[in-house]
Assembly symmetry: C2
Homo-oligomer: 230 residues x 2
DNA sequence: TGATTGGTGGCACTGCGTGCCGTTACGATT
DNA sequence: AATCGTAACGGCACGCAGTGCCACCAATCA
């Protein structure tokens, strides 16, 4: 009998333990179900004590998508590094890159996570709460940039929700399509199609468009009066 | 010592017990904090056994906003009763009425819930998950009605998220404004301002508007050439 | 080599949520 | 009005999540 190996003492050791725990959790959740798998099971499968599991993850649910906070910080960094006056459409597109990368870097695990969050109620709620933190982040950053507009707060809240929904829709279609690693640009392509739907359109805002339309309608009315059709 | 009163045997008794539990939970959470309040505390404050609490609510979190499922069903009923070809903007406005009513019927409790969901992480996550069920419901119903459009699924997903965000923004501004009961229409008024931001504008989409504008511009240009002002 | 630091495993504890069971009130039936 | 069936009740016990505590061990440094 070899003595039990303690692996977590170095930085590489900690990364190894963490990876083992994530893989064990995903495998056990997928195979035996989320509710039927205990934290003891996960820890034992990873060759580690139960108490150690909670030193790597806040709880059982966090083992499924453990890189949420890191990714959130990267998204925020994109906004922080961007110029104040940069157009919003390309910025919100670029801000989502860390999320896309997180999924695209490990398609197999992404698919497993996707299946779990679809089928397990507790993980679906967790996912919704996680997505909501991205929505709030986009909302904060857009509010800064739309502060001078009329109804800027409203536009920021609506746009943030719309953008996050578009991102998730893109990721979702990529996942149900088999999560092929070579389709790295599919997400971005899908997202670009939504740009015209957003309140903050690339070049002209909806408000401006409405004003233009009103003025042109009046011009048309004058046209009808001065030059009747025939 | 009077013998303990058993109140839950009739329909009115059950409603009374339920109300007592909700009020006790809100009061204790607000006064002593969510984590510091146990289910035993809530049950004892409502004069009921601990086991009974779990017969009225799925868990500790559900006691804060217990009418979520009923409200969700009412929203769905609005969609089910609506005509297939009804314009979307007034429909999504009307579909939110049950939510508005739920808040407006008890402003004091709504404010207490709002403060709790802002300050307690567990309840904020719960709220996000709850809001997400509304988003999915709107998404399903909009997908039915946008199926024939190009990118209909995308438009449905984006619009659903935008509409729900607008609703929540309206409710939020009503709540931070003091939750005055007479401001029943403030929510709807706030929401109407967002209509022009939505992909599915009241009568004409932004794309169509641009096409119309182009055509009218050409007509106006012709008018300028043929009949100069004077 | 000895002391410090930091991660680990085990133990015990609180609290949530559930299954089970005996008890009790209410309402229906006759 | 007495009785029976239903259903909600209280209480107990249990499993599991998550946390505080402590002894232990490996790596680093004096």
């Amino acid at each position: 009998m070899a003595a039990p190996v303690r692996r977590g003492r170095s930085a590489e050791g900690r990364a190894e333990v963490r990876g083992d725990l994530v893989r064990a959790a995903l495998a056990l959740f997928t195979e035996h179900g989320y509710d039927e798998t205990t934290v003891d099971d996960i820890a034992a499968a990873a060759g580690v004590g139960r108490r150690t599991f909670f030193r790597y993850f806040r709880g059982k649910e966090d083992a499924v998508s453990p890189d949420h906070e890191t990714c959130l910080a990267r998204v925020d960094a994109v906004f922080a590094a961007a110029h104040e006056t940069e157009p919003l459409a390309p910025l919100v597109l670029r801000a989502a890159d860390p999320v896309f990368d997180l999924y695209l870097d490990s398609p197999a695990e992404a698919s497993a996570r996707f299946a779990l969050t679809r089928n397990v109620a507790a993980l679906r709620d967790r996912e919704a709460a996680s997505v909501d933190t991205y929505r709030r982040l986009f909302g904060r950053r857009l509010r800064e940039r739309l502060a001078d507009r009329p109804d800027g707060e409203l536009a920021a809240a609506v746009t943030a929700a719309a953008v996050v929904a578009a991102h998730n829709m893109a990721l979702r279609s990529w996942l149900v399509d088999g999560a092929r690693p070579e389709a790295r640009d599919t997400c971005r392509a899908t997202f670009r199609r939504v740009e015209t739907m957003l309140p903050v359109a690339p070049s002209v805002a909806a408000d401006d468009l409405a004003v233009i339309a009103t003025r042109l309608e009046r011009a048309a009315a004058r046209l009808e009066r001065t030059a009747p059709p025939g």
